[in-house]
Symmetry: C2
DNA sequence: AAATATACTTACTAGTAAGTAAGAATCCAA
DNA sequence: TTGGATTCTTACTTACTAGTAAGTATATTT
């Protein structure tokens, strides 16, 4: 992959995660990177190609992380996962699922499909982590692992959005609550 | 308020809550309502006027609900609040805060401000409900009311987004988890 | 040295976006 | 009944959007 291709993806991802997929144009990429509009189209013929590439890259980043964490205990896996959101918070970015999911019906089909696939994988991974933690008595919540998974991923997702909207550190209290209730 | 004005707001709200603020145009309103583009501009000169009107309407709807529920016990208030999300789910709509908040930085300033105000009010209301429930022993979670509030509102907000993305009934398990852990 | 692939630029198109100025139809009150 | 307010339409402008066709510069391979 060429340098410019990565620069384009990096900037596009930042734009998606601050303003949304429908609020940026190829001009917002070509001007800062000092290339022409058509150069962006050379790397990503359609805007949806760019969008999909970003989802697939995020998905593969997650997969690598999960493998990296394989030897960790469930509690540590959960902590690592939460740390990803803290990283996003420090960069003032909402997560990709939140950024794209809220306007799901406006997305091109290829983006919908890869987003659905990635989100399902993350949810599946979290279910395994919580189940494992229940079994080895690291966790002892009263809900089922499936139920707890959905609150955890949902609360983390929104906390980055609400951080911006409410202008309070929502992620901080969400993290505290999750760790206390698990 | 004229009939058409309300029809415009109803349709625009639906568009915002399915496709997002930046993914609809006045044409998407004028064509279905069989009026001209300029007629929409007559009622709402700028798109941001329409956006703000929708936020303010939602805000006042919430305020009315809260007054309506004043005599209810905390548990019932919480149930009523969750029921609002179940209603949204049945209509296949994400909530307004989720729809707009994820692209917060692309929103016109007047919309950012009214969205922030409304979200703060909802959070404040929920904090009061949870505190009241702790005091009268209806609830007995271990977190602080502030922490629990943020998980509850964050999880509910995302559950409508994740419902669409993951194509599972996330709200159902989020509801179950909240009610079991409170 | 010639051929080829890569990474662009130039220059364009067709369509859509938000927004406006001016005028017409309708209703309602003085 | 006439004058004004309300609610539109007609007709338009300016600016941007995604996308493309054709050509150019540079590097890489054969």
């Amino acid at each position: 992959m060429s340098d410019k291709r990565i620069e384009i993806m990096d900037l596009a991802e930042k734009l998606i995660r601050t303003k949304g997929y429908n609020a940026f144009s190829y001009k917002d990429i070509s001007v800062p990177l000092q290339i022409k509009n058509a150069a962006v189209h050379y790397h990503f013929p359609k805007k949806s190609d760019l969008g999909e590439a970003i989802i697939l890259r995020t998905r593969s980043t997650f997969q690598k992380k999960h493998i990296e964490w394989e030897q960790c205990l469930p509690k540590e896996k959960l902590n690592n996962f939460i740390a990803l959101y803290e990283k996003n918070q420090s960069l003032n970015l909402v997560c990709l699922v939140g950024a794209l999911g809220s306007s799901y019906e406006s997305l091109p089909e290829n983006m919908q499909n890869s987003l659905t696939k990635m989100s399902g994988e993350i949810r599946g991974w979290m279910q395994k982590v919580l189940k494992e933690g229940l079994q080895n008595k690291e966790f002892n919540f009263t809900e089922t692992a499936e139920e707890k998974t959905d609150v955890v991923i949902a609360a983390l997702l929104s906390s980055l959005i609400l951080d911006k909207v409410i202008r309070k550190n929502i992620l901080k209290s969400v993290k505290a609550s999750i760790l206390k209730s698990i």
